[in-house]
Symmetry: C2
Subunit: 332 residues, 2 copies
């Protein structure tokens, strides 16, 4: 862990370069020592520099999972998300994450009507603006995306400058048939994505999946092979699969890959597609760190990714895999 | 499901072939209909045949997990196992399964002293005899095996004729270091096996792993690729990893692969290596069907493997894997 100090020079009256402003990018888990403080004081008092200290995300950060009510009005859904992003900022979050379909009801008949272009559509632009206004990273849940005459279930990720830094399209479509309980065929209207998507926030490496993707252990294992420390799954499990598998799948992915897993659900509605709720953060030992109820709420969690190193060192399963006998491979 | 009828002909007094004995191999989940009963009555009363009805294991069977005390005396350990196999027979079991190291204390310093040849050693021969005497299948937990100057942690499987039908050597050795809690290095004295092992009992396909193998999702996935319906893990988790991961790992393997998982622990001792106990059966939905306490006991479970078909049909994750993008592959 280091402090990144950027000296900004200007030309002084005597024609020589002079440093009169210093940007300090401080990893958020770095504690300033007396020596560092003394150094800054000398810069300020002796060399008459102005100093800006910015916090970069290091091993420790606070994430806020926004478990929100979603209704039929897209503008209202997006406004509500932006208002909760502001609340999460006040709550000390550095990263916020939204649920699957945060701007649209979840259902094959809705996707076409609510779809928009990425990153130019109104929901994306609202996220971009909110990221910039709050100086937060936003993992933007999902929206129905229209592209090349097709529809995708897409997650966009935004940095504090309001730029989209990554985009993931759901790879495994939700087609299931549990007679008398839940039948759903996402592939009736959606196309599947074909790419793993990873991104860095500060020094932390994230991998993205969406909802049903959580059931596919190979996707998570491939992210682990690429050194991800946190997997984020915007999701919307229902009242049948939720109680059966929502918690178990997250604990399985977390424990088998020794990663943090964050899963963000919409709040439970009283009609239409009824989401299970219970947004959850799981640690690299498979232990549930934080879990929401089923109503609208912000779930905060303080994550320390160095716990991944502890788990991986103490139970070194990744290195002990018998890759002489088997492996999980990426074909493309 | 069918009845297999074997007609055993002999030569009659007139020099012609005559059927005077009929073997009926009945799958245990097949219910005799009135028509079948009538047919048998005709064979017996009209054609004067003798009839033997044998039960084969079909979709439904009762398994007994023997969670036993294990001490320093090998003969006593084996005698106790045989006595519990007899009890399990009385309890209606068709298959019995023993724990890891059922004949030996668990510890690297013991393996050499307790090791024996497979299948000629005394522990194996006792299992062979017990299988024949009780007409049961025995999944013989594990014993330290001596072969080619090396030691292995080995599971043997026996049919009701007393023949060894399969042998599996632990593939992932238990080398972990959780400071102040548990440090263990199985590879100090054991060599690792290099083969997946599957076998059929009646119409049911089993795959075998041992204890720490449970942590490696690829092994289970490869068994699933080979159509296994039941995975059996003799194990001996300890008082640190037991409460953390014993139940979770089994539920993960079961749910991700839509298989039954049976894991058999020794009973909890009061000194030496203290096993967690809590032998467990988990169904293909990841639900715990049966779970033992931590003392010596028989855990019975009635398994219906057609539930694998239900789970696989309703949530068809295996077919929905994106093998165009990734796969779990066997290298040898």
């Amino acid at each position: 862990m280091t402090i990144v100090v950027i000296l900004i020079p200007t030309v002084g009256k005597n024609g020589k370069y002079k440093v009169n402003h210093v940007n300090v990018n401080l990893l958020n888990d770095f504690v300033l020592t007396l020596f560092n403080i003394l150094l800054l004081k000398i810069l300020i008092n002796v060399f008459k520099c102005s100093v800006t200290i910015q916090t970069m995300i290091g091993n420790r950060f606070r994430i806020a999972l926004l478990q929100l009510n979603v209704g039929a009005d897209r503008s209202k859904n997006v406004e509500n998300a932006v208002s909760y992003i502001n609340k999460a900022k006040s709550g000390g979050a550095q990263i916020v994450a939204l649920s699957e379909c945060f701007n649209s009801p979840y259902g094959t008949k809705f996707f076409n009507d609510y779809a928009e272009n990425v990153p130019d559509g109104p929901s994306c632009q609202a996220l971009s603006k909110a990221a910039k206004a709050t100086n937060l990273y936003i993992i933007g849940g999902t929206i129905p995306e229209r592209a090349d005459g097709k529809l995708y279930n897409t997650c966009t990720i935004w940095n504090p400058q309001g730029q989209m830094i990554a985009k993931y399209r759901k790879m495994h479509l939700f087609d299931i048939d549990i007679p008398g309980r839940i039948t759903f065929k996402e592939s009736d209207s959606l196309s599947a994505g074909n790419e793993l998507v990873m991104f860095n926030i500060g020094t932390v490496k994230f991998g993205i999946g969406i909802c049903y993707d959580m059931r596919f252990e190979e996707l998570a294992k491939l992210y682990r092979q690429q050194q991800c420390q946190v997997l984020v799954y915007p999701g919307a499990f229902n009242m049948t699969t939720g109680p059966m598998h929502w918690e178990l799948l997250q604990r399985s992915r977390a424990n088998d890959n020794q990663v943090f897993v964050c899963a963000i659900s919409p709040a439970r509605a009283d009609r239409g597609y009824i989401a299970w709720g219970h947004s959850q953060v799981t640690d690299p030992w498979g232990k549930v760190l934080a879990k929401a109820g089923h109503e609208e709420e912000i779930l905060y969690s303080d994550i320390n990714v160095s716990e991944c190193d502890d788990a991986r060192q103490q139970i070194p399963i990744f290195a002990q895999r018998r890759v002489d006998i088997y492996n999980t491979v990426l074909n493309k």
